[in-house]
Symmetry: C2
């Protein structure tokens, strides 16, 4: 039981749950369903309504399933993230583990009912959603108005911010997702992603090693290539 209570512990911290003994916290922890997802396996939610997820450990992709074999990855998430899985509307959504994952699953409506009286939790959720909305809007700009080369730069810079480790002037990335995932996230094909990586490699902007390791040698070049507003850090 030790590991499981740790799971709740970190979650409680992340949503600013009140002191450990509060009855509200008790009830919310009972509501959460701990789930283990093996790498590559995905959480099919059927029509269970919107869910709130706390990702205790690992990384996941949130996939919108459009018709046929056309999937769009809405977002990647990493250890410690809290996020919403929407109920299926015009598309169906699922969460898929990129590696082994531990997560806590709450039915969104019940969670909100319980949290209704606790401004701290609500405020925390608003913060999470503001963030998710900001990211989704930036993604919309990238998908609507950017070329393949710009999208790749945006992707690499975004990953650098979230899971990169600085190494002098360079940033080292150990990407948990495949080229296919990158393509499905950027609205491109796997071949185009591969070609863009090759171009960046030839320009010495990045180095790669194996399938997952990427070293960003020239961040300023990537920023220029990302097509961001001039003068942005």
């Amino acid at each position: 039981m030790a590991t499981q209570s740790n799971t709740f512990e970190t979650f409680a911290h992340s949503v600013k749950l009140a002191e450990p003994t509060s009855p509200l916290r008790q009830r919310i922890c009972e509501l959460g369903r701990p789930v283990h997802l093996a790498g590559g396996s995905s959480l099919e939610l059927e029509d269970a309504g919107a869910q709130l997820v706390y990702l205790t450990r690992g990384s996941t992709k949130l996939v919108a399933h459009a018709s046929e074999a056309r999937d769009q990855i809405i977002a990647f998430h990493f250890t410690g993230d809290t996020y919403w899985i929407p109920a299926s509307d015009n598309y169906s959504y699922s969460v898929c583990a990129l590696g082994d994952c531990e997560l806590l699953l709450f039915p969104a409506d019940t969670f909100l009912e319980m949290a209704e009286t606790d401004p701290h939790i609500l405020r925390g959720l608003i913060g999470q959603m503001t963030d998710a909305l900001r990211r989704c809007r930036e993604k919309a700009v990238a998908l609507g108005r950017k070329t393949a080369s710009e999208r790749i730069a945006v992707f690499l810079l975004g990953m650098a911010e979230r899971i990169g480790t600085a190494k002098g002037n360079a940033v080292v990335l150990d990407l948990p997702m495949s080229r296919r995932d990158i393509a499905e996230s950027l609205g491109l094909t796997i071949e185009t992603v591969s070609r863009q990586f090759t171009i960046l490699r030839d320009a010495k902007t990045i180095q790669t090693s194996g399938r997952s390791l990427v070293i960003l040698n020239d961040l300023s070049q990537l920023r220029a290539q990302a097509g961001y507003l001039a003068g942005t850090a």
Copy 2:
């Protein structure tokens, strides 16, 4: 002063503000800045931070300004909507009136500080944000994975839902936005939008009259063309 207090009245109703005499409501109403926007004019926010907008009357577009002349319209909003304008990050954002507009403008951070103690308001905001996030995610799918013809169908169906008036089996739309706006919202060019309208006209799926009036004659055809998940209403 009568019209202005009506403005606050409808806003208070929309965010579930407490009884009229509450001091919190008083303070929040003092925080809101009423703004009139003439059609075509836009609200430049400089670096004023994130804003919360209540659209009392009219319709607006929320525009992300990427480099050069490449704008992406993030969302359209209509009378009664409450929404966030993000602080500029990698892009700068502005709100532009499609026709004459009345709106209430709040600095998001101050608003949240004030609302911190009122679970009803917070809960209302979460509802607004869930909605915005759902729409933004659907837009991401459209921009990432859909053809021009699918995007147009998605757009028309979305507008039908929000501002359409039923007329027998058909739906009548009086679009407040130009072809250019539609194009910038869908990640297409104005020419492509025009061509798609022509195709739909030739197929009798829609009729148009003047620049703004569109009649959707065949909703089921549009749904089929939108590339939604099979079996969705």
